[in-house]
């Protein structure tokens, strides 16, 4: 018995010692599958700052986490466009001190001064994500170009969707020819019928790593983020990436500092580190979204313009969100 106690105490001391070498911490909440682990651990080594890294799978989950935790629990977060606007309204964000960043000039100005935060008072853009349809051409020979095409009965149990109500309801609305931010009750009802038909073809909803479903051939079609599609294509070259003709979601994710943050200085150090060219390169290599860094990326300015032109941003729809909530619960 004594030996066991000594052993346990030993483990205690061992684990206790390994944690105390950092001079500071920064509490980060970010999208899952967004920044490679080694980028974070290199920061910890370089700056001697411990990063407490948590993840979320939707903007709504982020909002819930921030507003239910005590002020000062989190420092750095990565909300998308409409969530910046909403968090600004709810006074959950700290004004951004751009002068603390040395590498701000690396950002392509076309991504700055967006309508949700027109002077970048509260946010600086990090990455641009878009939704895409990925199709495994090994087994699907049809030409898929729109959301309507996904309703084909042939694809039963063969689709993976992002698990995010705004995006999927938005896709249904676009498939029906409505605006992605439509709040008209009749249009939402049509979207419900659309999604119920689509659900027969859906094998799973997954936001965190939908590419796995395509790579393991669990499904042949995915309505998933662009980087996920590209990563799936890297594993299987016969995967085709499609920007649906009825439109798709643009999601600009930003750096933002949470109100009451206790480790602001460290958060700015981390942001400045993430803005570095070499770091952006590493992030994009592992998660191929569209970087806001002007020195990085495989897409030309014109190609980015085309993507921006045909996509649409999700907007804050205020209290109508409860209609979306309910619709989503009905679908599931």
């Amino acid at each position: 018995m004594k030996k066991i106690i000594i052993l346990i105490l030993g483990i205690f001391l061992f684990t206790g010692c390994t944690n105390n070498q950092y001079k500071g911490v920064v509490n980060v909440l970010n999208w899952s599958s967004y920044i490679p682990d080694d980028v974070i651990s290199d920061f910890e080594k370089e700056y001697n700052i411990k990063v407490h890294y948590g993840t979320y799978s939707s903007n709504e989950e982020l909002l819930a986490k921030i507003s239910s935790s005590k002020e000062g629990t989190y420092d750095l977060i990565f909300p998308s466009d409409y969530m910046i606007e909403l968090m600004k309204q709810r006074e959950l964000l700290e004004p951004f001190q751009k002068e603390k960043l040395n590498n701000l000039n690396n950002i392509n100005i076309r991504f700055l001064k967006q309508p949700y935060d027109s002077n970048n008072e509260y946010s600086v853009p990090f990455l641009l994500a878009t939704t895409t349809i990925a199709v495994n051409k090994d087994s699907i020979k049809d030409n898929i170009t729109s959301y309507q095409d996904l309703l084909n009965e042939k694809y039963q149990n063969n689709i993976v969707l992002i698990d995010d109500q705004r995006i999927i309801i938005g896709a249904a609305l676009q498939g029906l020819g409505y605006d992605i931010n439509d709040t008209n009750k009749e249009h939402l009802e049509e979207a419900y019928n659309f999604l119920m038909k689509l659900k027969k073809n859906v094998k799973a909803f997954d936001s965190d790593s939908p590419k796995t479903f395509l790579i393991t051939k669990e499904v042949d079609i995915g309505l998933i983020w662009n980087a996920e599609s590209i990563l799936a294509k890297e594993e299987n070259d016969n995967i085709e990436i499609i920007y649906p003709e009825d439109g798709y979601v643009l999601s600009m994710d930003n750096y933002a500092i949470v109100k009451g943050s206790k480790n602001k200085e460290n958060a700015y150090l981390l942001i400045d580190y993430l803005l570095r060219d070499d770091i952006c390169e590493r992030i994009i290599k592992e998660y191929p979204y569209i970087s806001t860094n002007k020195h990085v990326g495989n897409l030309s300015d014109e190609e980015v313009s085309v993507i921006l032109k045909n996509g649409s941003y999700i907007k804050n729809i205020g209290e109508h969100i409860s209609d979306y909530d309910k619709l989503w619960a009905r679908i599931k």
Binding site: E61, K203, A204, T216, I321
Partner: protein, 284 residues
């Protein structure tokens, strides 16, 4: 005498503080929240309303409640159908073997439940171990859909909760008076009749104990429906989780929780009525 009192306080003070601070107050607060209003993006308004409870009876949410009750019920029944023959068949063995075999039931449950659930993904997916084996031996030609549907969830629930059914039923069966079974057999009763007339009545509290310990967690285990249901099937656990962690409608989430507590209390009352002891619940 004074010293006596001091000792009494020493023994009772912690449990009183504990049960008020960590059980009673949290539950009362949830009860309070369930009567509050909610603004659309998760602010709470401290005004009295019954609407959260009325929303539960909305068709959408009622369907989720019924569906998850059905899934939990099927899982409970399957567990019972496995546990009874298992426990009865074990009685053939010597006492030593029996105690070893019962310990063996617990071994899988000493590894992490999520990693075990993950093990089921490896087994059940389209090109997973089971499908590959069945196709390889020529039993089927096309892979079966074993997960990302209700079936996957039920397999996961049965697997995770089976010992909670096996243990109480085994303990009831092993305490049973076997001469009764023999007598019934001698009188020519069929196997089913022996089970129905003799075994079931004398093990009913074990069965009810196990059913409680399977059914109630099965309503709430959101991680199983998340992982093995592919995010497609919402059970009450997911619904509550979403209200608290995504939709940020705490009052509605609280109302569903209170509703669940009421159902639990009702089941526990029933359990006590048939002669079950509270201390047997959740014991090993």
């Amino acid at each position: 005498m004074k010293k006596n009192k001091l000792f009494q306080y020493f023994l009772l003070f912690p449990v009183i503080i504990y049960s008020f601070l960590l059980i009673l107050i949290p539950l009362i607060y949830v009860l309070f929240l369930s009567f509050c209003k909610n603004d659309s993006y998760g602010g709470m308004i401290y005004e009295f309303t019954l609407s959260n409870y009325l929303t539960i009876f909305d068709f959408t949410y009622m369907m989720i409640l019924l569906k998850s009750a059905l899934i939990a019920l099927i899982a409970t029944l399957i567990c019972a159908f496995i546990s009874y023959p298992f426990s009865i068949f074990l009685m053939d063995k010597s006492e030593r073997t029996r105690s070893f075999l019962i310990k063996l039931v617990m071994i899988p449950f000493l590894t992490n439940s999520l990693i075990r659930t993950y093990g089921w993904i490896v087994l059940l997916r389209k090109n997973g171990v089971i499908n590959s084996a069945l196709i390889g031996t020529g039993i089927i030609s096309k892979p079966l859909s074993l997960m990302y549907n209700n079936l996957g969830i039920i397999i996961g629930m049965v697997y995770t909760l089976l010992p909670f059914m096996i243990l109480p039923i085994y303990s009831a069966v092993s305490k049973m008076d076997y001469s009764l079974v023999e007598a019934a057999k001698d009188l020519g009763a069929s196997k089913w009749k022996v089970f129905k007339e003799v075994i079931l009545p004398s093990t009913i509290s074990g069965l009810f104990n196990g059913s409680l310990m399977v059914f109630i967690p099965a309503i709430g285990y959101f991680f199983i429906s998340d992982i093995l249901g592919g995010g497609k099937v919402m059970i009450i656990g997911n619904l509550i989780k979403n209200q608290f962690l995504t939709a940020r409608n705490w009052p509605f989430g609280s109302a569903i929780s209170i509703f669940l507590i009421l159902i639990t209390f009702l089941l526990v009352k029933l359990y006590k009525k048939i002669g079950g002891k509270m201390d047997d619940l959740g014991g090993f």
